[in-house]
């Protein structure tokens, strides 16, 4: 099939439709609004529903209802809107409902701005809501990958009955790139016998719930969730390695930052430096396995983020003090410039001297 030029935000919409998503509930916010615009047009074409909710709070809870009723459903927001969804997300995770949440990060804190950022990494991967829960977090780095991961997002959500977050930054949402859409084979969602769709004759009562008033039962539920998360940690870590094999210095970056770091790796290689890149595709579960592997050979790590230093904690947890882990970050909607990152790489590569 021919390639088409597509905006990241629109790719999110088309990817969702192709993954069998038929319900979108959300509230507009820059820099993800083209997704609602796209779905407002596209959903009716496939017999689906785009419903603009009165708030992000409501959107998360509409998702709760629709997911409980068995639908493939998604919402989308950014910064302040994602913060408003935290209670709802905790309920969705607690009730083990599958859904997809797009998080197009912008500059913060507070109203901040609408420029691209990665400063909501902690919120996404450590749980911005209350309780011990985890979101599966996928971090695409291109418009094509958005399309591809969207399908995976819905599949993972259903497989594990867990909310999945698609974590991107404003740049990925706004940019247009060529994409290969592939055959339009609309995915079928699996059977969901647990969905509460009305009491079948003789069938069990279904309850969509996150309340476990008796602590013993709540603990059991938490342990069950923790076991699920362990399974996901074991089975679903994903990452891309770029020129890592012989690298003595490893850059770690996700999303847009990783694109920039790839260019930096190339520049470094051109100058004969053994630099490589690990690009987490799942930021939860964090691809600890690969870091544990490469920390044997690599002499140092440089984490590059569009924030003041968040993912670096996960890298450090994986490196376990065996190697120095450095940080280069830009924040508030600023993006790292390849030349500057390369400067940092050179400095560190030469043992701290510029």
């Amino acid at each position: 099939m021919a390639k088409v030029l597509m905006k990241g935000n629109e790719a999110l919409g088309e990817g969702a439709v192709r993954a069998g998503c038929r319900y979108f509930f959300g509230y507009p916010i820059t820099p993800q609004s083209e997704l609602p615009h796209y779905l407002a047009k596209r959903m009716p074409e496939v017999g689906g529903l785009y419903l603009q909710s009165e708030s992000e709070t409501a959107a998360a809870n509409m998702v709760f209802g629709a997911a409980g009723a068995g639908a493939r459903v998604m919402t989308s927001s950014s910064g302040p809107g994602i913060s408003l969804m935290q209670e709802g997300i905790s309920y969705i995770a607690g009730a083990e409902l599958p859904c997809v949440i797009v998080n197009m990060i912008r500059g913060g804190p507070g109203l901040g701005n609408i420029a691209p950022a990665q400063s909501d990494y902690f919120q996404a991967v450590k749980g911005g809501g209350h309780g011990d829960y985890r979101l599966i977090c996928l971090a695409p780095a291109s418009v094509q990958e958005i399309i591809d991961l969207m399908q995976d997002a819905f599949d993972l959500a259903d497989k594990y009955r867990n909310p999945v977050m698609l974590l991107a930054d404003g740049v990925l949402g706004q940019m247009m790139e060529p994409v290969e859409l592939g055959e339009e084979k609309i995915a079928e969602a699996p059977e969901k016998p647990w969905a509460a769709t009305g009491r079948k004759k003789g069938g069990p009562k279904r309850l969509i719930n996150s309340l476990y008033i008796v602590p013993e039962e709540c603990e059991k539920h938490n342990i069950k969730l923790a076991q699920k998360y362990d399974t996901i940690r074991r089975n679903e870590q994903r990452w891309e390695e770029y020129r890592v094999d012989d690298a003595t210095m490893i850059l770690v970056a996700f999303g847009t930052c990783a694109r920039i770091c790839k260019a930096v790796v190339d520049s470094a290689r051109n100058e004969g430096m053994a630099v490589g890149l690990i690009r987490p595709i799942t930021v939860w579960p964090y691809p600890t396995d690969v870091i544990t592997r490469v920390r044997e050979k690599a002499e140092q790590f440089l984490v590059v983020e569009m924030n003041m230093g968040q993912m670096i904690e996960d890298v450090k947890l994986a490196v376990e003090g065996m190697r120095p882990v450095h940080f280069y970050g830009r924040s508030g909607g600023m993006m790292p410039v390849a030349r500057d990152v390369f400067g940092e790489v050179k400095k560190l590569y030469n043992g701290g001297a510029a």
Binding site: L5, T30, P31, V171, Q174, E177
Partner: protein, 186 residues
């Protein structure tokens, strides 16, 4: 081959769609392309800009912070972005709306009264394509054919009647650029 092109002007000058056209053409020629607009409340001020990267390598950041080409459709855009252009780069100035000159001496600069020329062609909306024509001629980043082909994809069928005048505009720009090149080389 790498070009980072920044097109900037008022909203309504076709800045974003011109950029998309260029990206589309790049894609049709199997190049790596990325297009990214400025977005958000900046637009309220009435300005708009977008960056287009066309390259034979995968594109790292789509943000064109150091353009190899700047198309300035109005004065604020020229003033704002000219310092960012890489040395040896190209600045295309819409002199119909810009009554100043660039301060840069280390770049190529072409001044074209695009709006006036567009009105000569009978459609003030094609000013952007006149400049685009010049850009193609001066950089060869994509072929004029690819742009024309892309126009068919980008425009909705009911507006295909606009293709001829756009083609004319591209040609007009190309001619002017040729003259400019001649001047330079003469």
């Amino acid at each position: 081959m790498f070009e980072g092109i920044l097109i900037a002007g008022f909203g309504g000058q076709g800045v974003l769609s011109t950029g998309q056209l260029l990206a589309y053409a790049g894609m049709m020629e199997d190049k790596h392309v990325a297009w990214i607009p400025s977005y958000g409340p900046e637009m309220r001020g009435g300005t708009a800009n977008c960056g287009i990267t066309i390259s034979d390598q995968p594109i790292s950041s789509p943000v064109v912070s150091e353009p190899t080409v700047l198309i300035a459709m109005n004065r604020p855009s020229l003033e704002k972005f000219e310092p960012a252009v890489v040395p040896g780069g190209l600045i295309l100035v819409n002199s119909s709306l810009i009554n100043i000159k660039t301060k840069r001496t280390d770049v190529r600069t072409v001044y074209m009264p695009a709006n006036d020329l567009a009105e000569e062609l009978g459609n003030s909306k094609v000013a952007n394509n006149i400049i685009l024509g010049a850009l193609l001629e001066l950089t060869g980043v994509v072929s004029a054919d690819a742009v024309l082909e892309s126009l068919k994809k980008v425009l909705p069928p009911k507006r295909h009647n606009l293709i001829p005048v756009n083609a004319e505009a591209l040609e007009k720009g190309r001619e002017l650029a040729c003259k400019f090149k001649e001047k330079k080389s003469s």
